[in-house]
């Protein structure tokens, strides 16, 4: 399990790096091309916006991994470490439930789009761009489920 978790974490990180570099590359190219020779990629702007959506979902997956999503922890500041461990588990259970619901209902959304055969840009079908929503939400649900079992005492802070 831990091996799978570590592999998944590395894949998420690598994907996030690739997505951002692609975003910078395409977005900057569009600006330069538009201003220098009034050109640019036909599907460039659409691709850029899909990349932002993917960054949102993969970034959110990484944040869920280390339990770093923004929260309003009014109560937690006044609790001792033991009661805090309990509230953390309950909060994680709630988040896991919502993520699971999101994953379940967005599968339906993606299926509708698949049946409609909508194109996002170029020859790329829309459902492929949207796939990250149910997959990401599903993995986030699993991450929070793991935290119900073993809450992280002090979340890793990278800054």
């Amino acid at each position: 399990m831990t091996a799978i978790g570590r592999w998944l974490a590395r894949a998420e990180d690598a994907l996030l790096v690739l997505l951002l570099l692609a975003l910078i590359g395409v977005a900057a190219w569009q600006v330069l091309a538009r201003n220098l020779f009034d050109g640019g990629l036909l599907w460039g702007d659409a691709l850029v916006r899909v990349l932002v959506f993917w960054i949102t979902m993969v970034g959110a997956m990484v944040a869920a991994r280390s339990d770093e999503h923004i929260r309003i922890d009014l109560l937690a500041r006044f609790l001792g470490p033991r009661s805090r461990a309990v509230t953390q588990r309950l909060a994680a259970a709630f988040a896991a439930t919502i993520c699971a619901l999101l994953a379940w209902y967005s599968i339906e959304f993606v299926r509708y789009e698949y049946e409609d055969g909508t194109l996002a840009f170029g020859q790329v079908p829309a459902w492929l761009c949207q796939l990250v929503l149910p997959v990401g939400a599903g993995i986030m649900a699993l991450r929070y489920l793991l935290q119900v079992r073993r809450p992280i005492a002090s979340p890793e802070r990278s800054d």
Partner: protein, 426 residues
């Protein structure tokens, strides 16, 4: 069923569930009660793709993280110091300006206190400013600059407000124009306060030296074009905000990694993951909030809120006063992004009914949030500064309340003189 759901949401909020899950939960509950197919949350979240302005978020955030990683803050301090160091309270002025610029670039996530505090605090105390003043300055200035381009909270306010489509329409650039004079008022108020507090103190000044200025300019040679590129590009209309963000990200990447070589290539993945983790969190909340906002509008909640408030509050000025009190409290409790996505959909339609311009409301909103960041007892900057400078919270309360008072006066001016926010816009 409805009450049970609301109770569960409130309980989850108290327990400290992630904000995105709370808002998504609220949206799901709303759709469920209104007999709308729940697959609609997927559609609503995917609308992130229909908002071109959002492209600016990851790009500006990444650029900010890169700048924080490099020695940009040192160069910025040296440069501003060479420019205004000869004035009596020059160093305090340096600190205010540098904090504002740095916060605008990096977002008010505490990076300013962490990155600049270590630099400014010893510089201030060794130049003869007392420790309490210096601590107060660094703590309270960690959110200064929320109104300056390319502040991400300001962009987010614009996106949420445009989504609501009430009042006079405006562009995101209008918000950046609107923030200029109010920020200047805040800076002026702070500088006057510093000058008054040290009116008799023997503060050493640094004589102006063309050589020092030249050296500072040379050191900052690769970063100097950046403000002109961003500010000039956006204000002149050459770039859209999202285009400026793309150019900024690429430019900063080249400057810090290839030209200055202060950020090694191997460090990039770590910086990208750290910054995009934050962006993912914010955008997910925003996406969920947009879905929830649609539900609120369908249920005519803002309309009912206005009718309720109209029975108690008649004048626009009384409304603005209450708004300030409410926002200051919220600013102390909530993260600025949370406050934006929760409160703007509720407050903006009501404010518009009172005849308040959406652009003015945005400036007032963020000015409040900025002060809320270091409002005792639980403003976030106080905790960050306490942790960073190893000082007790009580020391920081004592150090920052004069700054709070000064900024509250500035806030009152900004609130009651809408002209300051609107002169360049309307």
């Amino acid at each position: 069923m409805g009450y049970l759901g609301v109770a569960a949401l409130v309980l989850a909020a108290l327990l400290g569930a992630p904000l995105f899950s709370l808002i998504l939960g609220a949206a799901l509950l709303g759709f469920l009660l209104a007999d709308i197919e729940l697959a609609v949350v997927g559609i609503e979240l995917y609308r992130i793709v229909d908002t071109p302005m959002l492209v600016a978020l990851p790009l500006f955030t990444f650029a900010g993280y890169l700048l924080a990683e490099a020695r940009t803050s040192e160069r910025l301090v040296a440069l501003v110091r060479a420019l205004v160091g000869r004035f009596r309270i020059g160093l305090a002025v340096v600190a205010f300006i540098v904090c504002a610029v740095f916060t605008a670039l990096t977002g008010a996530s505490g990076v300013t206190i962490v990155a600049l505090g270590a630099l400014l605090l010893p510089a201030l105390t060794s130049a003869g400013y007392d420790r309490s003043f210096s601590l107060g300055l660094v703590t309270s200035s960690g959110s200064l600059g929320l109104l300056l381009v390319p502040s991400i909270p300001l962009i987010l306010y614009g996106i949420v407000a445009q989504q609501l489509d009430v009042g006079e329409p405006f562009a995101i650039v209008d918000l950046f124009l609107a923030g200029l004079l109010p920020l200047l008022i805040m800076l002026l108020a702070l500088i006057v306060y510093a000058a008054w507090r040290f009116r008799d103190a023997p503060l050493p000044t640094q004589p102006f030296s063309a050589r020092a200025l030249g050296a500072a300019l040379y050191a900052a040679r690769y970063e100097l074009p950046l403000p002109f590129l961003v500010l000039g590009g956006i204000y002149s209309g050459v770039f859209a905000v999202s285009e400026a963000a793309a150019v900024t990200a690429l430019y900063v990447l080249v400057a810090e990694v290839l030209l200055y070589r202060e950020v090694p290539l191997q460090a990039l993945p770590r910086i990208i993951v750290a910054s995009m983790k934050m962006v993912g969190g914010i955008l997910l909340i925003l996406g969920a909030a947009l879905a929830f906002t649609n539900y609120l509008v369908d249920a005519e909640v803002p309309q009912r809120l206005f009718e309720l408030s109209a029975t108690y509050i008649e004048s626009r000025w009384a409304f603005l006063l209450l708004l300030n009190v409410l926002l200051l409290l919220l600013g102390a409790i909530l993260d600025v992004f949370a406050a934006l996505v929760i409160m703007v959909p509720l407050l903006l339609p009501v404010a518009v009914e009172y005849g308040i311009d959406p652009v003015h409301l945005g400036i007032v909103f963020l000015a409040n949030m900025q002060i809320g960041y270091f409002t005792p007892p639980i403003g976030m900057n106080l905790f960050i500064a306490s942790y960073r400078f190893k000082e007790s919270l009580l020391t920081l309360y004592a150090a920052s309340w004069p700054f709070m008072l000064v900024l509250l006066i500035a806030l009152a001016i900004i609130t009651y003189v809408p002209w300051l926010s609107l002169v360049f816009v309307r």
